[in-house]
């Protein structure tokens, strides 16, 4: 059973076309094993990416080095999934 312990979902904002290209490049870096939840489309729409724990430092460093803004949308994905599972179990018992 795959777990997502420590995985975060980052929301990444491009302020111009140059930064948009930067985050598009990021989304295509296979070695980071990113899961793009919402792709980089235009400057007005942020990108949401699930970043595996082992890639977090690399991704954040990449963004910060290029002055690309991001926020942490989900701090620990597994914690939310566990919460979801507990809720389903409670409902099932009920």
């Amino acid at each position: 059973k795959k777990t997502f312990v420590g995985d975060q979902v980052l929301r990444v904002f491009a302020k111009d076309e140059v930064q948009l290209t930067v985050i598009q490049d990021l989304s295509e870096m296979k070695q980071l094993q990113l899961d793009v939840w919402r792709g980089p489309t235009d400057v007005a729409t942020p990108m949401d990416i699930r970043v595996p724990f082992h890639s977090l430092m690399s991704v954040k460093a990449y963004l910060e080095a290029r002055d690309v803004q991001y926020t942490i949308m989900i701090k620990d994905l597994q914690a939310d999934i566990d919460k979801e599972e507990r809720q389903m179990q409670r409902s099932s018992y009920a």
Binding site: K2, D35, G39, Q87, M88
Partner: protein
């Protein structure tokens, strides 16, 4: 749950519970609801379509599908709520009654059951089908890139390890081929409403090309009406427009195929939210999401009913 009244609409359910729900709904409403098995998934699960019909043969029909991307749990959860809403409202809500007196509604609640089961047992974030890819250790095809509409062009991937892998050929996935065969055999489908999450968008063709759909003006106006009705309940704001303009280039997708088949009213929804939870939208938002989405669906269905072609 012993009846669909007892079914917990405010929670997420495993596949067997959804299948049971469908059977209960049919048993409770035999003159209105029937179940059609249009095929089998790769792992042998039935592909069930609920048919809401008040009679007649080969009436014009509105197709609604949920659960094509398995991790988008809010969509089948909303589908269950829609199904119950239809049986509750028929005979009571004049608009829905008028629609069903003239047209059928076809609802496929879980387009990708193997993937959905996998999200409950092995990987909550799984998106694709579960068919192995020869020559690759990566599994599955993106069922929303597998349709014969700009198949293989930009806006999908040829790499089996990617989330947007299109598959080896158009309609290679039984989950998609079954819908294609069913729709072609039916021959009288007037709308395809394909429901995804998240990001709050209502999209119409095209996704694979920047060429405007010939009915763009009407589709655009109707989308505006639908999202206005949707927002009237809780103020949820949607963006709307052609897929390629509003979200991104996506080739081989459901609504482009449907539109190219002559099904004018082809729309994709992206349900709540705007990105606080993404694919793990809390269960307490299922009913609000379904309720507001229903208003948009009704706006579209009423328009279709008044503008049959």
């Amino acid at each position: 749950a012993k009846t669909t009244d007892d079914f917990d609409y405010a929670n997420y359910h495993v596949l067997d519970e959804i299948y049971s729900f469908q059977d209960m709904l049919v048993a409770e409403n035999p003159t209105l609801v029937s179940k059609i098995v249009i095929g089998q998934s790769y792992e042998g699960r039935p592909l069930n379509v609920l048919k809401f019909s008040t009679g007649g043969t080969n009436r014009p029909a509105i197709w609604i599908d949920t659960g094509i991307h398995s991790r988008e749990w809010i969509t089948p959860a909303s589908g269950a709520w829609f199904a119950k809403k239809i049986v509750l409202d028929y005979g009571h809500n004049p608009a829905l009654t008028a629609i069903l007196d003239k047209m059928d509604i076809l609802l496929e609640m879980v387009v990708n059951p193997d993937g959905y089961h996998f999200t409950h047992t092995s990987n909550r974030m799984w998106r694709k089908t579960r068919k192995p890819n020869p020559g690759s250790s990566c599994v599955g095809v993106d069922p929303n890139r597998n349709w014969d509409a700009g198949f293989g062009t930009a806006g999908s991937s040829g790499n089996p390890c990617d989330e947007t892998y299109r598959g080896p050929t158009a309609h290679s996935e039984s989950e998609i081929k079954s819908i294609v065969d069913f729709m072609k055999a039916h021959g009288n489908i007037k709308a395809v409403l394909s429901i995804h999450s998240y990001s709050q968008m209502l999209l119409y063709p095209y996704g694979y090309t920047s060429t405007s759909a010939k009915d763009q003006k009407e589709l655009h106006e109707l989308a505006k009406k639908a999202i206005t009705d949707l927002a009237s309940l809780y103020g949820t704001a949607y963006r709307y427009g052609s897929m390629i303009n509003i979200i991104y280039q996506a080739s081989g997708n459901t609504i482009d195929w449907a539109y190219n088949q002559g099904i004018k009213y082809s729309y994709t929804f992206e349900l709540r939210d705007t990105g606080r939870y993404g694919f793990i939208l809390p269960a307490n938002q299922i009913i609000p999401t379904a309720k507001e989405t229903w208003l948009a669906l009704m706006a579209i269905m009423e328009h279709i009913n008044a503008n049959t072609y």
